[in-house]
């Protein structure tokens, strides 16, 4: 009886201790907050810390992308010793877990508990939409989120006053870019480089906001150029089996297969298998080069494939790429790591301008700077490693200005894993090449 009781009570003590520790942790974390209700004046001091809240998916399905964001942002800031002027920079990595609710909650927590000075970045459109609400509520300027699709634009336009805190998208709605695919192909046809058997195109897209938006736009643009869209195929995220799809496309006998997929395993499988089944079409695969390791996965099957993507073309870009590999030991993708590096530099520029023009780097002043300088196009960023100029105007807002002189992805064709820029004319390395079996 006694030993039984002893055994039980030991369990009880363990349980009680656990409960106690747990509740203490919770109250400890929770209780600390009201006490640190500091005034904004503290952050206005000359060498006060600037806290940047970066929303990225660090866990969950898109964690790979989040990692690239994190590393490239760290790189950009480490180049200025994590200091803007006299102000040390501190990051608050806000894990969105690719979930609208968790993202919004984490963002709110970063604003309230961690007292971030400014918000930065984001990857998913749906996280953007729910975080826009939080930014508006706390009047927190949030710069350069990727969340590209039209839901974000629509939300912004529904109440530009309220959502003015969502300071510009880093990636425009897909249709603004995709025209490159049409232009590049049309150019080759007019030049007589390619005489396609027919003007039939089949589209494929990853089955999410990105893929749907992109294919819808691309379809319209091809139709406008006189092409017939004979099929549109949606592919589940993470799908790696494309024999049925490819054989179907092969049966349709189209000259061109164009589309996009966002995860590397899918897109590399598609490309590899297109070679295996002997698909006789030119392939335009948007996003093949998004993640660094793609060539290891596709091998030479990627030859002749067209992609529209920022490239490590400039010497600065190549240097960044090499530095990145040296530091983090994996291949960065230009569209993620490269662009987020540029946008981080842009943010630094905004921070510096705010200090210069408005006196102190505070949340309020950053909002003012954003509204008065960035949104109007007065403040733009020209030293990017990928784009000529990152600029917003009231007309394009929340998207950046898209054209050959500003923000434009070149269209490239891969050979041996290396890109040849084939469009626009200004950057051109070479003409479009047509595989032998298509001539």
């Amino acid at each position: 009886m006694n030993s039984f009781l002893f055994k039980k009570s030991r369990k009880f003590v363990v349980a009680l201790t656990t409960a106690l520790v747990l509740s203490l942790t919770l109250t400890g974390c929770g209780g600390a907050k009201p006490a640190s209700e500091t005034t904004p004046a503290a952050s206005a001091a000359p060498n006060s810390v600037i806290k940047i809240g970066v929303i990225i998916p660090l866990t969950g399905p898109a964690a790979r992308t989040g990692q690239e964001f994190k590393d490239s942002i760290n790189m950009a800031f480490s180049e200025i010793n994590n200091k803007v002027g006299e102000h040390p920079i501190e990051f608050k990595w806000i894990d969105s877990e690719s979930d609208a609710e968790k993202g919004a909650r984490a963002y709110e927590s970063a604003i309230v508990n961690d007292k971030i000075t400014v918000g930065f970045m984001d990857w998913h459109s749906w996280v953007s939409v729910s975080c826009m609400e939080v930014a508006a509520k706390y009047k927190m300027p949030h710069f350069f989120s990727y969340g590209a699709t039209d839901v974000v634009n629509q939300k912004y336009k529904s109440d530009p006053e309220k959502y003015a805190y969502w300071m510009g998208k880093a990636w425009p709605t897909p249709e603004k870019l995709s025209i490159g695919y049409v232009s590049a192909v049309e150019e080759a046809i007019t030049k007589g480089i390619w005489k396609p058997e027919n003007k039939k195109v089949a589209l494929f897209g990853v089955d999410n906001d990105w893929g749907r938006g992109f294919c819808a736009a691309l379809g319209e643009q091809y139709k406008a150029a006189g092409w017939e869209v004979v099929a549109t195929e949606w592919v589940g995220l993470g799908e790696t089996e494309f024999y049925p799809l490819l054989n179907k496309l092969k049966g349709l006998n189209v000259s061109l297969v164009a589309g996009t997929m966002s995860d590397p395993s899918s897109v590399s499988s598609l490309i590899k298998q297109s070679r295996e089944v002997g698909l006789k079409s030119l392939i335009a695969s948007d996003g093949l080069g998004w993640v660094g390791e793609w060539y290891k996965l596709t091998g030479d099957a990627s030859d002749y494939v067209i992609d529209q993507i920022p490239q490590w073309t400039t010497p600065e870009a190549k240097k960044f790429q090499a530095d990145f590999v040296a530091k983090y030991n994996y291949e960065p993708g230009a569209a993620v790591a490269g662009m987020s590096y540029d946008y981080t530099k842009f943010l630094i520029k905004v921070l510096e301008a705010t200090e210069k023009d408005y006196g102190a780097i505070t949340t309020e002043n950053l909002f003012k700077a954003g509204k008065e300088k960035v949104m109007t196009g007065q403040l733009s960023y020209k030293d990017g490693i990928l784009m000529k100029e990152y600029k917003y105007t009231p007309e394009t807002f929340p998207d950046p200005v898209i054209d050959g002189d500003h923000y434009m992805f070149p269209v490239v064709q891969y050979f041996g894993g290396k890109p040849n820029v084939i469009w626009p004319a200004a950057f051109k390395d070479a003409d479009l090449k047509i595989p032998d079996n298509l001539k």
Partner: protein, 300 residues
């Protein structure tokens, strides 16, 4: 060939190739459910581990394709045995009450641990290879990569060996005996602990083998196991739980069904269509398609 028969040939060809690997996965899942009554939701994670094993042996240690794949099988076998000994064995010792549900949640926990453990260890990078055996084979106007043919053959040979093992060896007979009547088997002197460990490890081996074979098609990634898991459950429900032999047909059938739905309705709707069909089948045949004596009925 005219268009229609081309289509049909296409469906059959891709469906069979795809189904062969579903079968490999499903046989393992079915085995563990039939013998141990464990609905294993961590099966996909052993598939994932198999892919990683063969990736590392192939690219880092430069083993040949066959030995990489075999090493992956051995590796997952050992991991499976460890998992059984350290997790399921203690649970069985403690209580068999509500066993199916408890083990179901236990495997869910294992799956979370393995996924995130893999992510911590190997990061979020996709680790794949272009091909084990470069080149392709042409049948009529269709091309199939050597990897797929080889993969399908390995899957079929494995299943054949496995079948022989279950039916012709003492150990295999013991496993089957346990699946039919655990108490009866233990009375005639079958050591249940050994059988359970062996069964679980074998099931993991099959999953790991599938992951290794498919490495050139789907690169190793911490969360790659989810889809194959869905698919193998699909197969299991369709043919009747614990019906190990029928899982092979079931795998092929689901492969064909999916390819068909894929062709006719597009990728987005393929799950809906094949599900609808499976639900219809189950309404009329609640014991699954290949009901036979001793199969656990899905109906009460």
């Amino acid at each position: 060939m005219d268009m229609d028969s081309m289509q049909l040939f296409n469906i059959v060809l891709t469906g069979v190739l795809r189904g062969g690997l579903y079968a490999l996965m499903a046989v393992g899942l079915s085995l563990v459910f039939g013998v141990m009554n464990i609905p294993n939701f961590a099966h996909g994670e052993f598939y994932m581990l198999g892919a990683y094993f063969s990736y590392f042996t192939y690219t880092y240690f430069h083993f040949g394709p066959i030995s990489s794949i075999l090493l992956a099988a051995v590796g997952t076998f050992i991991l499976g045995a460890i998992a059984e000994k350290t997790l399921f064995y203690p649970l069985r010792k403690r209580s068999k009450k509500n066993w199916i549900m408890n083990t179901f949640l236990l495997t869910l926990g294992i799956s979370i641990v393995l996924q995130n453990g893999a992510k911590m260890l190997w990061g979020n990078t996709y680790r794949g290879i272009t091909q084990y055996w470069p080149g392709k084979v042409s049948i009529a106007s269709f091309n199939i990569s050597n990897d797929r043919i080889a993969g399908f053959c390995i899957a079929m040979v494995t299943i054949a060996i496995f079948w022989l093992f279950l039916n012709k060896t003492t150990m295999g007979r013991a496993i089957r005996a346990v699946s039919q009547d655990e108490t009866g088997a233990s009375i005639v002197g079958v050591n249940l602990n050994v059988i359970h460990t062996l069964t679980f490890a074998l099931s993991c081996l099959l999953a790991g083998l599938a992951g290794a074979i498919l490495l050139s098609i789907s690169p190793a990634y911490p969360f790659m196991g989810v889809q194959p898991l869905y698919k193998s459950w699909f197969v299991l429900i369709l043919v009747g739980m614990g019906n190990i032999g029928a899982s092979i047909y079931g795998g092929l059938l689901v492969g064909l069904l999916e390819t068909f739905a894929y062709m006719k309705f597009g990728s987005g709707w393929q799950d809906v269509v094949s599900l609808a069909i499976i639900i219809m089948i189950l309404i009329f045949k609640p014991r699954g398609l290949f009901a036979k004596k001793g199969v656990k009925s899905v109906s009460e």
